[in-house]
């Protein structure tokens, strides 16, 4: 039975959003004995009953309120860069969970561009370990890149599918080191107190459209049940519209819409965990926490170029964990002659399987194929495999979010997001384009083609030490409103050269611990 709280009582904390930023923090605060309520805009699904193995019907997992994409490289949202439902975008993340490396947190120190994080790897590492253990991350016995792990992955790696085998083959030819990737999907059954038993991955390959057996560690089958176990209340289908500031300068009340009704919840603290776009949008709508003028600024998105090829072998790219194989040899890459590259930071390489509708729509959008050409290329679906990169992205003044004059179906201004890759991202992408084509050629690919993209929208509420240039401090606390915290990918000062979910969860736990510690073991007295 889930504990419930009345809207007339003042709860210790309201958490807005139940994805990678909200759910771990919610569980931590509940465990500490705080009265906590999570408000989630989307539905609380029952995956076994509600999730079909059908991409079209699973579009319900995406944040489908319209956003306006501007700039020279407009960002797609919906299936990418968004999520809704209890669990947020972890419902459709690929579960790829590499750690960032220590130098990812100090790009400015190392390259003189971007900004450093206000904390180092050493601050985040214990939380990486905790999250990996709790989720049951499957990974190799020895991970070849970054600092030596203090504790090995909980479970052995997931089996390598066709795309992974092909990338292994191509990389071997070129002398690039590869490894089974770390994925937050179970290679064996797993039991956690407060969560229960979760089964091993069925190799269904449908991570990006929702796991229907709970093998993938989305928040709805991990931190959310843990939070409920410790007394948190989850309220789905609650869309927050206002944060009410009292005369004391603190947030005293959160206003939300549920079933068309406006409801108010009194609270002592607010944790905003709605993701890069909605977190910034809510603050801008309410004119809050923006004395720095930085809310909405510094939008970043990983260069995520994909290279696809057709192989003689049967690949059947719908089977197995999509991102089975990784290389981080390009974390701080050399140029193709072994010299210095002409860009800052670096990227990782990942093999990718793909669901059919995703692949076909990418061929339509990215390759512009239609008519018999599209149908012919589609017939090769069972023989295609891909590789992609995830690379660091620098913050620029020209990349930002603003509120437009156009209203969405809720009557609220649609966000407009400007995004244009800078010189650094273009050079990195050109480097990766050549390298991945070489790998695929070495692996025996034909009809190689590139799909340009940026993935994982990051930034808009930068974390830092200076209230004039950052929105929150290293603890995630607003510089302007002492009882307002942000815990999601909006606070990342730099994009990191890895998928963000694991780091979002790790930083969320750190934010929760800092909050609890600053409250001196008795949060209520300090509030």
């Amino acid at each position: 039975m889930m504990k419930t709280y009345s809207t007339t009582e003042t709860v210790d904390a309201v958490i807005i959003g139940t994805g990678a930023g909200g759910a771990p923090l919610l569980a931590r605060l509940a465990k500490a004995g705080l009265s906590v309520v999570a408000l989630e805009a989307g539905t609380h699904w029952n995956p076994a009953r509600d999730f079909a193995t059908d991409e079209k019907s699973q579009e319900k997992l995406f944040w489908n309120d319209e956003r306006l994409s501007a700039g020279n490289d407009p960002l797609p949202f919906g299936s990418n860069n968004s999520g809704t439902g209890v669990g947020g975008s972890t419902l459709h993340y690929t579960a790829y969970t590499p750690r960032a490396q220590p130098d990812d947190f100090q790009l400015h120190t190392d390259f003189g561009v971007g900004v450093d994080w206000p904390m180092g790897f050493d601050q985040i590492e214990p939380y990486y370990e905790e999250v990996e253990q709790f989720l049951g991350v499957s990974g190799p016995a020895v991970y070849p890149w970054g600092p030596a792990r203090k504790r090995s992955y909980t479970l052995g790696p997931l089996p390598i599918n066709g795309a992974g085998q092909l990338m292994e083959r191509g990389c071997k030819e070129l002398g690039i080191k590869t490894s089974a990737a770390a994925n937050a999907a179970l290679s064996a059954g797993y039991y956690q107190e407060g969560v229960g038993h979760r089964p091993a991955c069925a190799n269904r390959g449908f991570c990006q459209a929702g796991c229907n057996i709970g093998a993938k560690a989305s928040m709805d089958v991990t931190y959310i049940p843990l939070a409920v176990h410790y007394g948190a209340e989850i309220r789905p289908e609650c869309f927050v519209t206002q944060l009410v500031k009292s005369a004391s300068g603190k947030i005293s009340e959160v206003v939300y819409i549920h079933n068309g009704q406006e409801i108010r919840q009194r609270c002592r603290n607010v944790f905003l965990c709605a993701g890069t776009i909605e977190t910034a949008r809510l603050l801008l709508l309410n004119g809050l926490a923006n004395s720095s003028g930085q809310v909405g600024r510094n939008v970043m998105a990983h260069p995520g170029l994909q290279i696809w090829g057709e192989f003689d072998e049967d690949v059947r790219p719908y089977k197995g964990i999509p991102g089975a194989l990784i290389s981080e040899d390009t974390h701080r890459p050399k140029d193709h002659n072994g010299g210095l590259v002409d860009f800052a930071g670096g990227y990782l390489l990942q093999s990718i399987g793909v669901m059919p509708v995703t692949y076909m729509t990418q061929m339509a959008r990215g390759r512009g194929l239609w008519g018999q050409a599209l149908k012919r290329a589609a017939l090769a679906y069972n023989h295609v495999a891909g590789i992609n990169i995830l690379g660091d992205c620098l913050p620029y003044d020209h990349n930002y979010l603003e509120l437009s004059d156009e209203k969405d179906i809720r009557g609220l201004p649609k966000p407009r997001i400007y995004f244009t890759n800078g010189e650094n991202e273009k050079r990195m992408t050109a480097h990766a384009d050549k390298l991945m084509r070489d790998i695929w050629t070495a692996a025996g690919a034909k009809n190689i083609w590139a799909f340009s993209r940026n993935a994982h929208v990051i930034g808009t509420c930068r974390m830092g030490n200076n209230p004039e240039t950052a929105v929150v401090n290293a603890n995630g606390q607003s510089f302007d409103i002492p009882n307002l915290y942000i815990s999601d990918n909006s606070t990342f000062p730099s994009a990191l050269s890895v998928n963000p979910a694991l780091t979002i969860m790790a930083v969320a736990l750190r934010t929760a611990d800092r909050f609890l510690r600053n409250a001196g073991g008795n949060p209520l007295s300090a509030l």
């Binding site: 009953r49 509600d50 999730f51 079909a52 193995t53 059908d54 991409e55 079209k56 579009e59 995406f62 944040w63 489908n64 309120d65 319209e66 956003r67 306006l68 994409s69 501007a70 407009p74 797609p76 949202f77 919906g78 299936s79 968004s82 089996p159 390598i160 599918n161 066709g162 085998q165 069925a202 190799n203 269904r204 390959g205 449908f206 229907n212 192989f311 072998e313 049967d314 690949v315 059947r316 719908y318 089977k319 197995g320 059919p356 509708v357 076909m360 729509t361 339509a364 959008r365 512009g368 239609w370 008519g371 018999q372 599209l374 589609a378 017939l379 679906y381 069972n382 179906i409 407009r416």
Partner: protein, 197 residues
């Protein structure tokens, strides 16, 4: 047809697909065309003619109703979470884009799009895709983006359909027994083998 027919339809009758999956795909298989509610009948006919060139279905006994699905989505005012800032709202973009294609057809060939030969239709659509089609409408609506959005939505609708999935040999929906043979050239018994490619 490199892959045998009826694969997905046969699997839907077995316990190798979940109930949720069976419901969605069976409903899609059984959907029949209905009069348009967002587009006028003329607009819908034109959209259908365009979609037949974008994704030919000449070899199908049962037509996948791409235009009907687009009409349904726009009637329900559903979106996919974003749009290009340079584009008007989806419904307006479609109405304007259809006008633009007929305008271009008249300017280029002196006839409406539907009166053109399939070769002429393809030439015209190619020009729209490259933003090289003549006409006033394309001064207000970026032709290349309109084409990209239309083509993407058409491809999404087509390849979501069980019949199109049979065509490409996809049976990923039959996942109840789990997939154990996932490496190169490893197939489960229920995965169709290509014939003659």
């Amino acid at each position: 047809m490199p892959y045998p027919p009826n694969t997905v339809r046969d699997l839907l009758k077995t316990d190798q697909v979940t109930e949720a999956t069976r419901q969605e795909l069976t409903e899609r298989l059984n959907t029949s065309s209905h009069p348009p509610t967002f587009f006028t009948a003329q607009e819908c006919d034109l959209l259908q003619a365009i979609c037949r060139r974008l994704i030919p279905q000449d070899d199908h006994e049962q037509l996948i109703d791409i235009a009907g699905n687009i009409d349904k989505r726009l009637t329900e005012n559903k979106g996919d979470g974003w749009r290009y800032d340079v584009m008007p709202a989806d419904g307006d973009a479609y109405k304007l884009g259809l006008k633009g294609i007929d305008e271009s057809a008249l300017l280029r060939f002196g006839q409406s799009f539907q009166s053109l030969s399939t070769e002429q239709q393809d030439v015209l659509l190619g020009a729209v895709q490259k933003n090289e089609a003549p006409g006033q409408i394309w001064q207000q609506l970026p032709a290349d983006r309109f084409f990209e959005e239309l083509l993407t939505e058409a491809a999404e609708n087509y390849y979501s359909h069980p019949l199109a999935q049979e065509e490409i040999g996809y049976v990923g929906m039959a996942d109840v027994p789990t997939w154990q043979r996932i490496g190169l050239n490893q197939l489960e018994d229920r995965e169709p083998r290509a014939e003659g490619i």
